[in-house]
Symmetry: C2
């Protein structure tokens, strides 16, 4: 018996790989992690195609029941599905590590991730620096890390992918406009040149889905665009190769 | 009619997604890019499962026939398969861009990439800096970029993924030992502390395959390990969280 950690890709039930699907079919119980990312289709679509009942695993479940899950995987085949790729979030590495420690066999099935899907913008994946995420803080404290990461990446001429907060339990998802407002507020406070209304950006929504949207433009322009349903992410490009520039121009022109 | 750019994942014919497979089946002609990465199974395995004849596209083909391919996609459905994810290499972005310019519809199917599969080492994907690759130079010139990238990433406490040269046409693939020798030679020349025989590294081979190998250890230890068939990649971790440290310890102990 084993634990199957299976990435199911970015959009719908058909983004699973043949290998992943074969393992789901072999599983005695199937869980879907649904708090670090967001399913673009109803759960029923997955259940129908996979031919399995799927149990939703929220943050509390994964953090508190991790060991129980691993224990279960000694006696039965347990499939744990992750939207995107398996190692996009620390909690899944934690689950993997628990299984290794407990000597429970694990099979990993990789899949597409937002970290590489953003290559569609035309920005070279090799030239992305550290990835960062902007959390909702509700004004109670000010998190400066994403701004700091952006600053350091830009100093090296690197692109920055800013992932935006997903609070699935509260059905609360940060928008590109909110992310830009956050960066502008920090720029205002710090009085530096890291980010301004004129900063070229690319906003991406629902990457890998049929309603995917990529728009390039200055921060002030992107703030006014309607990106629709979550998840959203914001990219601030560093030094651009002319091919990258042309692609951003394409994504700017397309949504004037 | 359209151009389908389809990532087929890291290992074998079963790493394609259901969506990717459906498009391959709809295609009138199927090409497989085979010079930026390396198929782990015979081409026939893909052809059998996909039910299609597959034409191999080497570097010259893609660079010289890109426009012809796009033209073809006006009249027929053309599937262009890429090992790993679609946007792992600049040439594929170039092909995508040519199709956009020519107003030929394009469908992209994302898949797993070495850039995210390395998450299995336990190193946090968000904490990777710029990615770099070490080319064979055959002593004719000395490329310092990878060393420079490593230096800058380390200064920020970030992990570095070093991809190693793949010269598929010459059946020549850089090994982890060769990559370490390259870094040690540059360290010797520069007399700095960026890389030494004691530097902690992780070597990975054939990520995502059934013969995948991950070994952690100092550079001098890894140089003596047998990683087997290509492709290989080398990771030099930056500042480690204790969970990351534990995982590297796991990959060190496993192959003492």
């Amino acid at each position: 018996m084993a634990l199957f950690l299976i990435g199911i890709g970015l959009n719908d039930e058909k983004d699973i790989t043949l290998k992943g699907l074969a393992l789901v079919k072999k599983a005695d119980a199937v869980y879907l992690e649904n708090y670090t990312s967001l399913l673009q289709v109803p759960l029923a679509a997955l259940e129908e195609l996979y031919g399995k009942k799927i149990m939703l695993a929220d943050r509390t479940f994964v953090e508190k029941k991790g060991d129980a899950l691993v224990k279960e995987a000694r006696l039965e085949n347990i499939a744990f599905l992750v939207i995107g790729d398996v190692f996009g979030a620390t909690t899944h590495t934690d689950l993997y590590q628990r299984a290794l420690k407990a000597n429970v066999p694990v099979e990993i099935v990789h899949n597409a991730s937002i970290l590489t899907a953003v290559g569609k913008t035309g920005l070279e994946l090799y030239k992305f620096g550290k990835t960062t995420s902007i959390p909702y803080t509700d004004g109670s404290w000010e998190v400066e890390t994403p701004y700091q990461v952006l600053k350091e990446n830009l100093a090296q001429g690197l692109h920055t992918l800013l992932l935006l907060d997903i609070q699935a339990d509260k059905q609360r998802f940060m928008t590109i406009a909110e992310a830009i407002r956050y960066l502008l507020a920090l720029a205002e406070k710090k009085q530096d040149t890291v980010f301004s209304p004129k900063t070229k950006c690319a906003g991406v929504a629902r990457m890998g889905s049929t309603t995917e949207l990529i728009i390039a433009g200055s921060a002030e322009v992107l703030m006014k665009k309607e990106f629709g349903k979550p998840p959203h992410a914001l990219i601030v490009p560093g030094k651009l190769h002319f091919m990258e520039e042309e692609m951003l121009e394409h994504w700017a022109q397309k949504h004037l």
